[in-house]
């Protein structure tokens, strides 16, 4: 009968981060196909789930996982991390421990800032009264029967929405035409129905934990844009080219009013000054391509294969024993002694246990027994 064992260890976590980074690069390439409408924008959710699953399931499976040992570069990194920096009382601190300590401090700091930003936004919106605008309310009633709080204020520079259970849509105090308002509000309503804020929250939490991974920053940018594209797709699905031009005009008009980056990490803005993001959205809205089922199927299959195959191997360093560890020292009365345990002896060399002896041989008979 074959037994399977699962374990999480330092190298299985490292490997999961390596594979997740690879999957993130794959997602970044796939976004190009999403933008030109060759594959559905809904697939982005599937890719995000795969990436995060790989991160939160960093285990190896015995006997399935094969070990691949690397003799170059990797061992040098291991030795560097093991290098002792200083002693704290009787405990020696190495490079890896310092890095882990710094990592925890920085991650906690980012987490607190995130919680504070969410709390600040929630608190600000809670105390602002809902605006009563008949024109806006009529448009909302056309789109949905849900109760939505509308806030119209001069301090709001750019339309945005917020809320996990109850939605609040914030609009600047501008004279929008009815058509422009309809598109903006449709876009923001779809964010809520699409649960974009929940995905953004999960992404933000992962950013606090994996801030050191440069690929995650890239994924961040693309995911935020792809969520906007999903909403653009919903709004522009069945409208003619003239209406699409009005929608695109809205995006350009709103892009000049960007707000502080840190504040916008907690919600989705209708538009922003990121040129790459805007270019992607424009390309998507004006594209006339149709989704290719074969391409969609191929991308899902390829990413699933990568995901599953990544559990069949683990990359480890092969660190050969240093020469000084296997040099036989000269045992003298000054540097060595023997301690008697119950029914055996331990030879100490420079106050470190060195040899386990069943009995004291002639070689060590000159050494003191304590």
């Amino acid at each position: 009968m074959r037994y399977y064992m699962i374990e999480i260890n330092f190298y299985s976590i490292l490997n999961s981060m390596f594979i997740s980074s690879f999957l993130i690069c794959f997602v970044c390439i796939m976004q190009k196909f999403i933008v030109i409408k060759k594959i559905s924008s809904k697939l982005i959710i599937f890719f995000i789930v795969l990436v995060f699953l790989r991160l939160i399931l960093p285990f190896e499976i015995k006997p399935i996982t094969k070990i691949i040992e690397i003799q170059k570069f990797f061992p040098n990194i291991v030795y560097f991390f093991q290098h002792q920096v200083f002693n704290l009382k009787n405990y020696s601190i190495n490079v890896l421990q310092i890095i882990i300590f710094l990592y925890i401090i920085i991650s906690l700091n980012k987490l607190f800032i995130l919680i504070y930003n969410y709390y600040k936004l929630f608190n600000n919106l809670k105390h602002v009264n809902a605006s009563k605008d008949d024109k806006v309310q009529k448009i909302i009633d056309r789109i949905t029967k849900r109760e939505i709080k509308i806030v119209i204020n001069d301090l709001i520079k750019n339309p945005f929405e917020f809320g996990f259970f109850k939605q609040t849509i914030c609009l600047p105090n501008k004279n929008y035409t009815e058509e422009e308002l309809f598109y903006i509000i449709s876009h923001e309503i779809y964010h809520f129905e699409n649960k974009s804020n929940w995905y953004k929250l999960i992404l933000n939490i992962f950013n606090c934990i994996l801030w050191w991974n440069p690929f995650l920053g890239l994924l961040n940018q693309y995911i935020n844009t792809l969520f906007e594209i999903q909403c653009d797709e919903y709004v522009t699905k069945n409208i003619d080219n003239y209406s699409k031009s009005i929608y695109l005009n809205c995006l350009i008009n709103e892009m000049s009013q960007d707000i502080k980056k840190t504040f916008s990490m907690t919600f989705f803005q209708f538009s922003n000054t990121n040129k790459i993001s805007l270019r992607m959205r424009f390309k998507f809205i004006t594209s006339k391509n149709k989704n290719s089922k074969i391409l969609s199927f191929a991308t899902i299959l390829f990413s699933l294969i990568i995901f599953l195959y990544s559990y069949t191997f683990i990359i480890l360093p092969h660190c050969e024993v240093p020469d000084e560890e296997i040099q036989i020292p000269v045992f003298t009365v000054d540097n060595s002694y023997i301690i008697k345990k119950n029914d055996y002896f331990i030879l100490y060399y420079e106050d470190e246990p060195y040899i386990h002896l069943e009995s004291i041989t002639d070689t060590f008979s000159d050494l003191p027994v304590k």
Binding site: E7, F22, C25, E69, Q71, V78, C319, P353, H356
Partner: protein
């Protein structure tokens, strides 16, 4: 930017499949007269920790100690008679 990502992924895929210095299960190290060193068959422990015994001779008596190739540390606290 996209070209860079494409090059990176291509490099990663090639790097995965290029022959690296993959260690064989059996390794022969020449014996030194003052301290004999040899690697026995490497034992693959259940999880990601490849270990192997190292041997030394002190006055004709063979001693062994378990070394972790993965974590670059001794798994045994001291040398014991082999």
């Amino acid at each position: 930017m996209k070209k860079k990502i494409l090059k990176l992924i291509t490099g990663m895929i090639i790097g995965l499949f290029l022959p690296t210095n993959i260690v064989c299960a059996h390794e022969n190290i020449p014996v030194i007269t003052t301290a004999s060193i040899s690697s026995a068959d490497e034992e693959i422990s259940p999880y990601a920790n490849v270990t192997g015994y190292k041997y030394i001779y002190i006055d004709g008596i063979k001693y062994k100690r378990l070394w972790s190739y993965t974590y670059a540390r001794w798994e045994d606290s001291y040398w014991t008679v082999a």
